[in-house]
């Protein structure tokens, strides 16, 4: 397994290299001129040219790429075109905020998703199942801003339990993580349900019952862990998405996270920031995938660490 992990980690290096190349040329192909945006509507042509030179955007693309890579290899992510601030400064706070939000969302999505999924499976085709699945499907089809604003209306404005946004304390994270987790919760609930239904058909469940175990024990101790294996894959994938931050939730709850940073930077064609963010996301994605594979194997003693 150790070898497996090392192998996967080594694999990341060329991937990141290719990714950086891809991103670099891709975003320069996208229309929009950061210089124009930086200089403003009233800028004269001369002014624009000066800014272009200052930002180094007048050089040929491959030269820019070489410079960029040189900086990257020395651990320098560069400066934002828009604010002039070092990108690492801009990440600092946002990254931890996004992390916190991610873990909270995933946490409750897991808890509720598993709960709903389990109840649905156990009471298959009875009303708790219908209620559970309706909830799940609502979670998929409700747009995030809507859910977010409704939660704010209920829990902040009317009840005054939680702040409307910000990142001051754990309380600030409650509503956003609920909103962000809703979709994942739904996915997990649906997958848990179908996976559990499969598991409940397995022979060893009957063995458990034949031992005289209570149904609740059979479900909890025998069925659930087995059903988790496919659920983990889904959770992992979603985890990757969460780490990318969610623009909608960050917007609604005024959270300074990675998602908004990315969107704002794209809008401004803030190339260095966009590159850095995507690179970070790719890395996260790859690491999460690795983590999932490891977790997957940990959950399932049958899996061997080959291939």
């Amino acid at each position: 397994m150790f070898r497996y992990i090392v192998k996967r980690l080594i694999e990341i290096i060329p991937i990141i290299f290719v990714v950086s190349l891809l991103i670099f040329f891709f975003i320069h192909l996208v229309p929009g001129d950061p210089v124009r945006l930086a200089a403003g509507k009233e800028a004269t042509l001369e002014e624009i040219e000066r800014v272009r030179q200052e930002l180094g955007l007048d050089k040929p693309l491959h030269t820019q790429y070489v410079n960029y890579m040189q900086n990257l290899l020395t651990g320098n992510l560069g400066h934002s075109l828009k604010t002039g601030l070092p990108i690492s400064d801009m990440f600092e706070n946002r990254f931890s905020v996004t992390m916190t939000l991610t873990f909270m969302s995933l946490g409750w999505a897991l808890v509720l998703g598993l709960l709903i999924g389990t109840i649905s499976a156990v009471f298959r085709n009875k009303w708790p199942d219908y209620v559970g699945m309706l909830t799940a499907i609502s979670g998929i089809s409700l747009p995030g801003f809507w859910l977010g604003l409704i939660l704010i209306q209920i829990f902040s404005v009317t009840l005054g339990w939680f702040p409307t946004g910000g990142v001051e304390s754990w309380k600030s994270y409650v509503l956003p993580s609920l909103t962000l987790g809703a979709g994942i919760m739904s996915m997990l609930a649906r997958f848990t349900r179908s996976s559990l239904l499969e598991t409940l058909k397995e022979d060893f469940i009957r063995t458990g019952r034949a031992k005289g175990l209570k149904e609740s024990v059979v479900v909890r101790k025998h069925a659930l862990k087995n059903s988790m294996i496919p659920v983990v894959t889904i959770a992992g994938l979603q985890f990757g998405f969460l780490l990318g931050g969610s623009v909608v939730v960050e917007t609604v709850f005024s959270i300074p996270g990675m998602g908004r940073l990315l969107i704002d930077s794209i809008a401004f064609r803030d190339y260095p920031v966009v590159q850095a963010v995507i690179l970070l996301f790719s890395l996260e994605f790859i690491l999460v995938n690795l983590l999932v594979d490891i977790l997957y194997k940990a959950l399932n003693p049958k899996i061997r660490y080959d291939s």
């Binding site: 397994m1 070898r3 497996y4 061997r304 660490y305 080959d306």
Partner: protein, 322 residues
């Protein structure tokens, strides 16, 4: 039976599967098949017997080149196939068809039986749809089904019928060799006998050659001409059926024979109950592979692997120090 030339010649084939097990452990491998040789004459039935995991199926899959041997050579109808490329192999596969242990699993559950049986025709011939249907109908008759079964799906059949379908599919290209990997193990006794009879009849009718894989000695006795007994990837005894049954030489063969439950409550006999389980093929024992369970184990067995040598009778080979 007219003895003729060898259709299949297997010479010293080996197959190792790599596995990487456990935390931080080094690479390991399973010697699934270890230096196995035999030959099958045209029109003959050669059976491989042995416990689960001893490498029977792997041998079968090597002969059909579903797997590529690590070492050794295989000739089919005079052609060396062990290193052949896929395109040429497809030609050979016209001659070699397989029947699988689990008839349900080997039939695509989403295809109609007509399409299942016709698939080899689709792959290897350019017949028209009507032609194909006609041949399929004929073949289904041959195996004791009727053409109206063609419209159904595998799950609508009983186990015995499914196995007939598998056999029909294997026969449809009129192959020379059929590799039957435990074709009756999953079936009930009464159905099993139907299939065994069918296989025998078909062999006569189409002059087929069988490589028959089974762990049930009573079945093997019924159908084979020659038998090979495998243990942990190696052939430990082989020879004509009569000799093996009348005069088993290897202690493992003896144990195998005595383990078969006899459907007669009055039959009293000395059972050789082997101790322990089959050793893991990942860590095979040193010396004779069987020494860990052998009731007649000697010191030499623990250190030196016995070679396969001709026993007293002609054509009867055994690998044992005894």
């Amino acid at each position: 039976m007219v003895m003729s030339k060898s259709l299949v010649v297997v010479d010293g084939i080996k197959k190792t599967f790599p596995i990487d097990s456990g935390l931080l452990s080094s690479k390991k491998s399973v010697k699934a098949v270890n230096h196995v040789s035999f030959d099958i004459k045209e029109g003959e039935t050669f059976s491989l017997v042995g416990e689960s995991g001893c490498g029977k199926s792997t041998t079968g899959r090597l002969v059909t080149r579903l797997l590529m041997p690590d070492e050794g050579k295989i000739w089919i109808n005079g052609e060396e196939i062990s290193k052949m490329n896929e395109t040429k192999l497809r030609e050979v596969r016209k001659q070699v068809q397989m029947v699988f242990q689990d008839p349900y699993a080997s039939l695509n559950p989403r295809m109609k039986i007509r399409d299942v049986v016709a698939e080899p025709l689709l792959i290897h011939t350019k017949l028209s749809a009507q032609e194909r249907d006609r041949i399929v109908a004929e073949m289904l008759e041959v195996v004791g089904l009727s053409s109206y079964h063609a419209e159904k799906f595998a799950h609508e059949f009983s186990g015995g019928q499914r196995q007939r379908i598998g056999i029909a599919r294997a026969l449809i290209l009129k192959p020379k060799l059929i590799v039957a990997d435990e074709p009756v193990s999953a079936l009930d006794v009464s159905i099993q006998s139907q299939i065994l009879n069918l296989l025998k009849d078909l062999q006569e009718e189409f002059h087929l050659t069988y490589l028959f894989i089974s762990h049930d000695l009573s079945v093997v006795e019924h159908i084979s001409d020659k038998i090979g007994v495998m243990y942990l990837g190696s052939l430990v005894e082989s020879g004509p059926k009569e000799m093996i049954f009348a005069n088993p030489r290897h202690p493992y063969t003896k144990a195998l024979l005595s383990s078969v439950p006899i459907p007669d409550p009055r039959a009293k006999r000395e059972r050789i109950i082997l101790q322990g389980d089959v050793p893991s093929p990942v860590n095979p024992p040193s010396g004779c592979l069987f020494h860990t369970r052998c009731p007649f184990v000697m010191d030499i067995c623990k250190s030196t692997p016995p070679a396969l040598r001709e026993a007293a009778d002609r054509d009867h080979f055994v690998a044992c120090h005894l």
